[in-house]
């Protein structure tokens, strides 16, 4: 079970191997593919485009804020910029990134399945996403939207002059893409596990995606119909949240956050799954408290639905409800804390290799711990009345979402890059990139905590009446520059590695798991030559395992076969 095919039969690098990439080279074969791996790669390319768009908008916002009176933009344009940043990053990047890219690619591989349960639905979900994204781009091009990504009524339903309906349509369609993916994942996890792969042998990545899918299933339709009601209110004057109709705008916030708070867990749970995989692999140790991490995923998924009220402590919601939701929010921190402690304990007596994926995973820990703990301020009734709606919140959720999700996405991409593309990337650049991102991140968002405590409201364009804000804003913008450079580094060397990277062996990290041990160097179209049978627990690592490949073999142009 420990030896892979390739080690016995080293690849002849000149001979063309048939895998999911080389099986067909036509454009058409990519765009009508039903192969989950190809769809995953399509998703990867698309989310990166949206990430770029969202980052440019963020760049404008940060640049604008270096001066108390703004730099180049009008207030209306500024509003459209931060809304574009929020909408694109959340609806088209963060919610999609890990599940649709890594989940799509690796869930069937980890389960020992030939494909997801419904491959056509999977392709449809990609095109829904693409369609939603196009609507989003059209909305951006045709003037953008200025309500903030939260679309609070009655600003969005009655007062805004921007492309609210188009943007909502985009989010609505993308929501259905998420639902299709979630249905696919749930069915696949339930029904398509390989023989012997019991629930408690599943990789934690799968557990995390299961919890995520359930949240998507239960939450997404709620926000979809809520936003649709706002659009309908604008178009046909059928209003449910409009004060003009006797409605209550706070009800919109209830319904919106009923999904949008759990949505945070849609972003962070898969990230936690990725980190569990990587830490176990590079500590050469079984994950400490496997059951607790798995259960805490489900606990986060369940409790995550009972905390939405903490977005509205200052909204005039009833005292009783505020207290209930504050309590639940304090408690939802516990499962996350359990995970962090268990990851740390996994390192104990480990055989730790600080490879690039591991570096990113540790970076994830560093950012997520701060992001998670600052959530305590936001859950707290007393403190939140001061902090809600300020930059403190902005900093907090960027620590969770950017620090958590993006670091984990990068970690995952680096971890599985050899499997996805069959190429290695240069280790040294990987670590440099990670360091730049990590420090740039702190530079950008640490000052925002102080800004928030000082009382700078979010979404402010001018602050000439409070000059003490400027120093922090300038520092934050400088950090954003570092962060931007940091994000360039992996993009550059990963793209270069496609051509110049050393050819990766089937299992360069000597990792456990069906996706590493039972597949070809790059998986074939239906993943496995024969359906594997699982006989052992997940993460059955030992210190006697062969180490991951050494850094010198990962340089551009290196030849991998030297190793064997």
């Amino acid at each position: 079970m420990s030896k892979t095919l390739d080690k016995k039969h080293p690849n002849n690098s000149h001979q063309e191997e048939v895998n999911y990439i080389t099986v067909d080279y036509t454009m058409k074969s990519w765009f009508i593919t039903k192969d989950h791996k190809r769809i995953g790669m399509l998703y990867l390319a698309t989310v990166l485009v949206f990430f770029f768009v969202g980052s440019v908008a963020a760049g404008f916002v940060r640049f604008e804020l270096t001066s108390p009176t703004g730099q180049i933009l009008e207030s209306e344009t500024f509003n459209r910029m931060f809304t574009a940043h929020g909408v694109v990053m959340i609806f088209f990047f963060l919610l999609i990134a890990i599940p649709a890219v890594l989940g799509n690619f690796f869930l069937p591989l980890m389960l020992g399945a030939r494909d997801l349960a419904f491959p056509k639905l999977n392709l449809l979900s990609y095109y829904l996403y693409l369609g939603g994204g196009l609507f989003g781009v059209v909305a951006l091009v045709s003037g953008g939207v200025d309500t903030g990504w939260t679309f609070y009524t009655p600003l969005s339903s009655m007062y805004s002059n921007s492309q609210v309906v188009l943007t909502i349509t985009a989010a609505f369609i993308t929501g259905f893409s998420s639902i299709a993916t979630a249905v696919n994942f749930i069915v696949t996890i339930h029904k398509m596990r390989a023989p012997g792969l019991t629930w408690f042998r599943l990789p934690l990545f799968v557990w995390a995606h299961y919890a995520t899918s359930i949240i998507i299933l239960l939450g997404t339709p709620v926000v979809a119909i809520t936003l649709a009601l706002v659009a309908v209110e604008r178009l046909f004057h059928i209003g449910v949240f409009s004060p003009e109709y006797g409605g209550d705008p706070v009800l919109f916030q209830h319904m919106f956050w009923f999904y949008s708070h759990p949505a945070v867990y849609i972003m962070i749970l898969p990230a936690m799954g990725v980190v569990s995989e990587i830490i176990a692999c590079f500590a050469r140790n079984r994950v400490f408290g496997y059951e607790f991490i798995a259960a805490s995923s489900l606990a986060i998924g369940g409790l995550g639905f009972l905390v939405w009220g903490h977005h509205m402590f200052a909204s005039g919601e009833s005292y009783f409800q505020a207290a209930f939701f504050s309590l639940m929010t304090s408690l939802v921190a516990i499962p996350s804390a359990i995970k962090v402690f268990n990851w740390a304990a996994t390192l104990y007596k480990g055989m730790i290799y600080l490879t690039t994926p591991m570096a990113y995973a540790i970076g994830f820990l560093g950012l997520f711990v701060i992001g998670g703990l600052t959530g305590l301020y936001c859950s707290n009734l007393g403190v939140d009345v001061h902090l809600t709606g300020t930059y403190f919140i902005v900093a907090h959720f960027h620590y969770v979402m950017v620090g958590g999700t993006i670091m984990a996405l990068l970690a995952g991409i680096h971890f599985w890059w050899p499997k996805m593309t069959g190429r290695m990337y240069p280790e040294i650049w990987g670590k440099i990139g990670m360091l730049v991102i990590f420090s740039g991140f702190h530079m950008t968002f640490m000052p925002q905590f102080i800004l928030g405590f000082l009382g700078m409201p979010r979404r402010y364009h001018y602050y000439h009446f409070a000059p003490e804000f400027q120093a922090y804003n300038v520092f934050s913008t400088a950090g954003a520059g570092v962060l931007a450079i940091g994000f360039m580094i992996p993009v550059v060397y990963l793209l270069l590695s496609l051509k110049h990277g050393a050819k990766a062996p089937a299992n360069p990290w000597n990792a456990k798991g069906l996706e590493w041990e039972k597949t070809d160097r790059v998986p074939i179209t239906h993943n496995f030559r024969e359906i594997p049978v699982v006989t052992e627990e997940a993460y059955n690592y030992s210190i006697d395992d062969e180490p991951p490949i050494e850094a010198k073999y990962t340089k551009f142009g290196a030849v991998m076969e030297e190793k064997s």
Binding site: E244, G246, V250, H254, F258, L306, G309, S318, F324
Partner: protein
């Protein structure tokens, strides 16, 4: 690869079972209409509005259960399908936590909009003596 001796799938339910369910549904529907009409016409019953509400929703729920259980075949499906069939209904009830807000907003009563279109409402000017 098709196997024709499988146990777990394609329960062919005899038509009388369906027909009986259909009749039950119709009876329940007429019952709920009858209750509503009766409650409307009878002033003494009209006072018991909560009871009427309860009856209407109980009948609706029973009808829904019949449809889910027999017509949608959940009765004959695996436990997994049963779980997913009822999970949604259970989770939907989570939304009613919002009542925690509205039921306890003592000092902050939700009211209408002050800018009610003037032409649509009886004007205060018509009051004699002002």
């Amino acid at each position: 690869m098709s196997n024709n001796h499988s146990e777990g799938h394609s329960h062919v339910i005899p038509i009388p079972v369906y027909f009986r369910t259909y009749l039950q549904l119709l009876v329940l529907m007429f019952l709920t209409v009858a209750v509503a009409v009766l409650a409307e016409s009878n002033p003494s019953l009209r006072e018991m509005s909560y009871l009427n509400n309860f009856v209407a929703m109980a009948i609706a729920t029973t009808k829904a259960m019949l449809v889910v259980w027999i017509f949608m075949g959940v009765k004959y499906s695996s436990n997994l399908t049963k779980f997913y069939a009822f999970f949604g209904f259970v989770w939907f009830s989570m939304m009613f936590l919002v009542y925690l807000d509205y039921a306890f907003r003592k000092d902050e009563i939700n009211t209408g909009w002050s800018h009610v279109p003037a032409n649509a409402l009886p004007r205060a000017k018509g009051i004699p003596g002002s």
